[in-house]
Amino acid sequence: MQLYKNNSRSRFYAACCIVLVCVFVSACDSTRDTVYKEQLFVFGTIVEISIWGEQPEKAKQATAELAEDFKFLHRVWSPRARGSLGRMNKLFPSKLAFTGSPSVLPMLVKARKLSDQSNKLFNPAIGKLIQLWDFNQENQSLGNNSQENKAPRELPDPKAIADLLAQNPTMDNLHLEGISIRSDNTALELDFGAIAKGYGIDLAIGKLREMGINNAIINAGGDLRAIGKRGDRNWHIGIRHPRQEGMIASLEIIKDESIFTSGDYERFFEYQGKRYHHILDPRTGYPAEGVVSVTVIDHDAAVADAAATALFIAGPAQWYDIAKSMGLKWVMLIDQDMKIHMNPAMAKRIKFELDESPDIKLSPPL
């Protein structure tokens, strides 16, 4: 069976084929699954970090650095601890100007802008109201055994709530000149609970990028930002069902996006058969009603964080207008009847994981 006449030419062909096979095999090898995953008890919650395609040592080191950062941020951003924000909150009632902390001011400026865009529904100036309800993130996070998240058996005093509402502290009460800041409202206390997680994740992602890590997820207590891919496919994210076990939907991350969900199931207590959750409506002083959860996708985790809270408070009737003014592109709101409100772009990319098709109400495009 003489296939070739020329022996040296056949050697050349053989060599070419072997090279091709080697290239193919090595290409297969590089797509192998290598996700490094670690859970950290930091930032008042569980932070899960997933890194794809890096050497385990490098991923481990990056994770350790992020853990330190999150611990630091948690201290300086706690509203009543002995950190930067705690100090500022002590000084605001004096109405005098003082130097704002550089670890707080950038987030404060961003929060002020988002508060404006959300028509003050996202209002970080109502720290006193949040303290009154005592869903206290502080106790929950510090892990001090006995004081762990003591939910109040009683509701707060309605008069105290009314007093705080009358004084109406907002971000407009803050006057910032350079790094000098003062408040003209003695009732103002900053609580960045509805943006700090997002802002912290953004900082952490920035740090990962500086270290040359471009494929990762940072998930802090269920809210996350994902960058890059997992090998040759996109990161695949499940969205947990707010009322049942398992997932309600899933979606894929395109390049670099954050997914934040605010829900009434996250922190709550029950009093006389009624559920009181932690998302307070600054207009009423009571937990916002009519919504089970709001999921927002945005490039920026801080925006997604603040927006999820603002839209939860806005409710089924107003979410669309607020989402538009905040410049959001993907929103899903589940109301108390489990009806799903969302914009068409969101409907396009979300995949429901339910047995029966859900009741969906599409808004006009955002």
Binding site: Q39, Q140, G143, I217, I237, G238, R240, M247, S250, T261
Partner: protein
């Protein structure tokens, strides 16, 4: 029939036998690699307690396990490919309220007791879960 088969076998060269042998080896490798994974398709749980102590348990084996955390012992129940907190020394019992978790990518945890339980597996449903 046998005669026909014999002529074929006689016609086969050393190279033919070699190729057939290689093909069979290749097949065996395929079965080992892809079917062993499939039999593991049920995921396993990854327990992190006290910021380090790691345990890996199969989700297929029904059992109850006791994990030592910062406050005391938490009990986990594994049943029918799912896992949940049965008891925990924490005050708010949020970990127990989280209920069952069964899909890879899911995570249940008791923050006060510093115990996290994440589900992982080869057939990963999700890379992570938003809630």
């Amino acid at each position: 029939m046998i005669v026909v088969a014999k002529t074929f076998i006689n016609q086969m060269t050393k190279g033919d036998v070699f190729v057939l042998a290689m093909a069979l080896v290749f097949l065996v490798i395929l079965y080992v690699v892809f079917w062993r994974v499939a039999s593991h398709a049920g995921e396993y749980i990854h327990i992190v307690a006290k910021g380090g102590a790691v345990e890996k348990l199969s989700l297929l084996q029904n059992r109850e396990v006791t994990i030592e955390g910062q406050l005391g012992n938490s009990r986990l129940q594994i049943e029918g490919g799912r896992v949940r907190f049965l008891s925990s020394p924490c005050e708010n019992k949020l970990c127990i309220h989280q209920g069952w978790a069964s899909l890879s990518g899911e995570l249940i945890a008791c923050l006060p007791n510093r115990i996290s339980v994440s589900i992982e597996g080869q057939n990963s449903h999700f890379d992570t879960v938003n809630f």
